[in-house]
């Protein structure tokens, strides 16, 4: 994996704004009306463009913008995980199965409640429930349930993943980019819905992990850096109601990390980066679990690099966590230094200041500057690109100071 040897290099978390033509193709495909060849060509063209655009704006390690993970509208927060529904056997659409009751957690058996019953969503219910709050994906729009597991889970997304890989590699060659990454959902971030097939949550998560391993391997085999997206590690905390004792939560999470590590067995650690964030919705986030409480779990993941939200007002102060917790030798930190949580574009000087803080704590060669979360679908496309440009400018300023 590339690191910041003589300059601070830049990347981002994955999702980029889908062009209107691609959204139209996605919608046609979803309704069964798409011409497969037209979709394939349209997707490949869009990926070529977006890789070029990333290079032009100054992103050193680009991806395919997650364009192969279908988003149906310009604002869509869920494509990063729900793409896998199409690529896994054993799940059924939620509306075909009767809904279970809202789960209240008990200490003996922690369980996740629904999205709309998150603790922050209850605490700020007036805001979250207000249809005029302007919140995209506000509570009333979050009624959709997750796919339900009804049979043995098996991976069936080989063709789609190979197409994604081919598109990205071709685009990288054309744009003369040496390293690119591809995202894939963590087992525990996908297996958060109901399970009617397996005997335990442990078996359910393990089966998802075993299936997703195929996708992880395919990405690495193709020479790309694999990014595992796992917001569930921190944001499950807010989905357990009432707030659980920390030790119980860590046990609950440890099982999920173990499953991920099992899925990553034998894969080269230096080709893997692991992304966490506390959920990308534009809410107060007051019930986010502090990074300090889970940093040991993050570092337990068999990855070389850790991508952690640090560019918004709820988590910015957490750069200090790395003063107390040593980043192990050889590892890389990929902090978010620009965020989708505000339309205001980060001043490059602020970006540089944030990078400097991390560099001074963990060493400049161990920092890759990034975003908090994918920008696509979460903020206006013009602002998203301006933020990537600010990220690159800020990295330049920081480089200048760190290597002067």
């Amino acid at each position: 994996m590339r690191r910041s040897r003589d300059q601070i290099i830049t990347t981002h978390v994955g999702s980029l704004s889908r062009p209107a033509e691609l959204l139209a193709l996605n919608n046609a495909r979803a309704s069964g009306a798409a011409d497969a060849a037209a979709y394939a060509t349209g997707l490949a063209t869009a990926v070529a463009d977006v890789v070029n655009k990333q290079r032009e704006v100054g992103i050193d390690i680009p991806n395919d913008g997650e364009f192969g993970k279908p988003m149906s509208a310009a604002y869509d927060y869920g494509a990063w995980w729900n793409y896998a529904f199409e690529r896994l056997d054993g799940f059924a659409a939620p509306d075909s199965i009767p809904e279970s009751e809202h789960k209240k957690s008990t200490v003996a058996q922690l369980s996740l409640t629904s999205f709309a019953r998150r603790r922050d969503w209850q605490r700020f219910s007036e805001f979250y429930q207000d249809p005029t709050s302007g919140l995209v994906g506000s509570a009333p729009a979050r009624r959709a349930r997750r796919p339900v597991c009804i049979g043995p889970i098996r991976y069936k997304g080989q063709a789609q993943t190979q197409a994604d890989i081919a598109n990205l590699k071709k685009a990288m060659t054309a744009a003369d980019v040496e390293e690119g990454f591809m995202t894939s959902v963590a087992p525990a971030s996908f297996a958060r819905g109901e399970d009617l097939h397996y005997k335990s949550e442990e078996e359910f998560v393990a089966a998802t992990a075993e299936a997703m391993r195929e996708e992880y391997r395919a990405i690495i085999d193709a020479g790309l850096v694999l990014q595992i997206d796992d917001p569930s590690l921190p944001d499950n905390w807010d989905m357990i109601d009432p707030e659980p004792p920390l030790e119980e939560f860590k046990k609950f999470s440890r099982m999920r990390i173990d499953a991920l590590n099992h899925a990553l067995r034998g894969l080269p650690e230096d080709r893997i980066r692991y992304h966490i964030c506390w959920g990308s919705w534009h809410g107060p986030h007051t019930t986010d679990i502090p990074l300090a409480n889970i940093v040991d779990l993050v570092l337990a993941v068999r990855a070389q690099a850790y991508s952690v939200e640090a560019g918004n007002v709820r988590h910015e102060h957490e750069w200090r966590v790395w003063q107390d917790t040593k980043l192990p030798n050889g590892k890389i930190l990929i902090p978010g230094v620009v965020s989708h949580a505000t339309n205001v574009v980060e001043h490059p000087r602020l970006v540089a200041d944030r990078i400097m803080r991390f560099a001074q704590v963990v060493g400049r060669e161990n920092v890759i500057a990034s975003t908090d979360c994918g920008l696509g679908g979460r903020i206006h496309t013009q602002i998203a690109w301006a933020k990537l440009a600010a990220l690159a400018e800020g990295a330049k300023l920081a480089t200048h100071e760190l290597w002067q």
Binding site: D130, H285, V313, H347, Q382
Partner: protein
């Protein structure tokens, strides 16, 4: 004016969320005999709530400034046209909205798609996607006002109501100090003028008129806060297309003279002066840097300067105060929580921001504040949570700074 003698004091920029029924009373232009009693009780509530949230220097939430819908970015200036004579509404002009008075903004040009999407989506909250940039006000029609006759302050009764309501509300509340906001001459002179021979004459006349309101506030024993976002945000609206910094500075220098004229005879230590770069939820890429205007800001005859510093475009500017010394006796009121994001500032971040300022200008010279008024610009529930985070952060900072 109180300063942070043995702990960091807190305040905010002014606007607070109006109760729904008060918005409706204003919207329906309810007569005073119905409006005033409700206004008075709402102000009593909002003063109590500020005190309970840990805000030391409180105000009336600007409730006496009519807000006719829950999301409204403009009441801080639109209120004054109920209190000034000499203006006429031109419908054609009004239809153009802000476009009626901008000479072309670089940011609006660069981010045209974003602003178009925002305009078509209507209003929204901070950082919340397509509808987030909300730039309208319930009084957008006021952009159609033109000065056609001598400007005269006619708001004597209105400001007396404000003063009386606030005085009544303070009974029983434990607060350190109280402020009342009023608009700046620079903001007023943006609207076109057909009566005065020059923009300068027009500005002097406006300064003379609004001075009456300033005096009434100070005479009543309150701290006067002058709201002057125009002083910095006009750069983007009028000068950015040509990058005309010199022209902008000349303009700004004259505005400072005008506001100082309006402040003549008013004791400096009863005045605080607020600037911000416009409160709309846009990229703010075109904002003029603080360092390019800070010398002019410090010429304003005020003791306290309230400056946006809690959002990602201006946060780095705390360093400006390393190079520019805050003059002896002055106070800085940096924004350490912002309306530009729905995410709630972590109290530790708030404390970090305060401590940074305290180290540069001295702990006793910092009063922790917001970037801008929170009312009408962010959801009420979040607005109040931000004030609580501000107070918690100030406590953390105090324990670090006075240990």
């Amino acid at each position: 004016m109180k300063r942070s003698i043995d702990r960091i004091l807190t305040t905010h920029v002014g606007s607070l969320p109006r109760p729904n029924d008060l918005v409706e009373l204003y919207r329906d232009n309810t007569p005073d005999d119905t409006l005033q009693p409700r206004l008075r009780s709402a102000i009593a509530d909002v003063v109590r709530r500020q005190a309970a949230s840990g805000i030391d220097v409180v105000n009336d939430g600007e409730f006496g400034k009519a807000m006719r819908r829950a999301v409204d970015f403009g009441a801080w200036w639109s209120y004054v046209y109920d209190r000034l004579a000499g203006f006429e509404l031109r419908e054609e002009q009004a239809k153009k909205g802000r476009a009626a008075w901008t000479f072309g903004s670089k940011e609006r040009k660069e981010f045209a798609e974003f602003y178009a999407a925002e305009a078509s989506a209507g209003q929204g909250g901070a950082g919340s996607g397509p509808s987030a940039a909300q730039s309208g006000t319930s009084t957008a029609r006021l952009y159609g006002l033109t000065c056609t006759a001598p400007v005269k302050y006619t708001g004597q009764a209105a400001i007396q109501h404000d003063v009386q309501n606030l005085t009544a509300a303070l009974g029983g509340s434990r607060v350190e100090e109280t402020f009342v906001t009023a608009v700046s001459p620079a903001t007023l002179q943006i609207l076109p003028n057909e009566y005065y021979k020059s923009r300068e004459d027009y500005t002097w006349a406006l300064a003379e008129a609004i001075r009456e309101e300033y005096k009434a506030i100070v005479d009543a024993g309150f701290i006067l806060q002058i709201d002057d976002p125009a002083l910095v945000d006009i750069y983007d609206w009028w000068f950015s297309l040509n990058g005309d910094l010199a022209g902008y500075r000349k303009w700004a220098e004259f505005q400072v003279e005008a506001v100082n004229h309006a402040l003549q005879g008013i004791p400096e230590d009863r005045v605080r002066f607020h600037i911000c770069w416009g409160s709309w939820h846009g990229p703010h890429n075109g904002d003029v840097p603080l360092k390019d205007v800070v010398d002019l800001l410090l010429k304003v005859k005020a003791q306290g300067y309230s400056v946006e510093a809690g959002n990602v475009r201006h946060e780095h500017e705390w360093k400006v105060w390393k190079d520019t010394k805050l003059p002896e006796g002055k106070l800085l009121m940096p924004g350490v929580v912002s309306h530009a994001t729905n995410v709630l500032e972590h109290p530790e971040l708030v404390a970090d921001r305060i401590v940074r300022f305290a180290h540069v200008v001295g702990r006793e010279n910092v009063v922790a504040s917001t970037d801008c008024g929170l009312g009408g610009r962010i959801h009420p529930q979040i607005a109040w949570a931000k004030l609580t985070a501000l107070a918690e952060g100030a406590k953390l900072a105090s324990s670090e700074l006075w240990r």
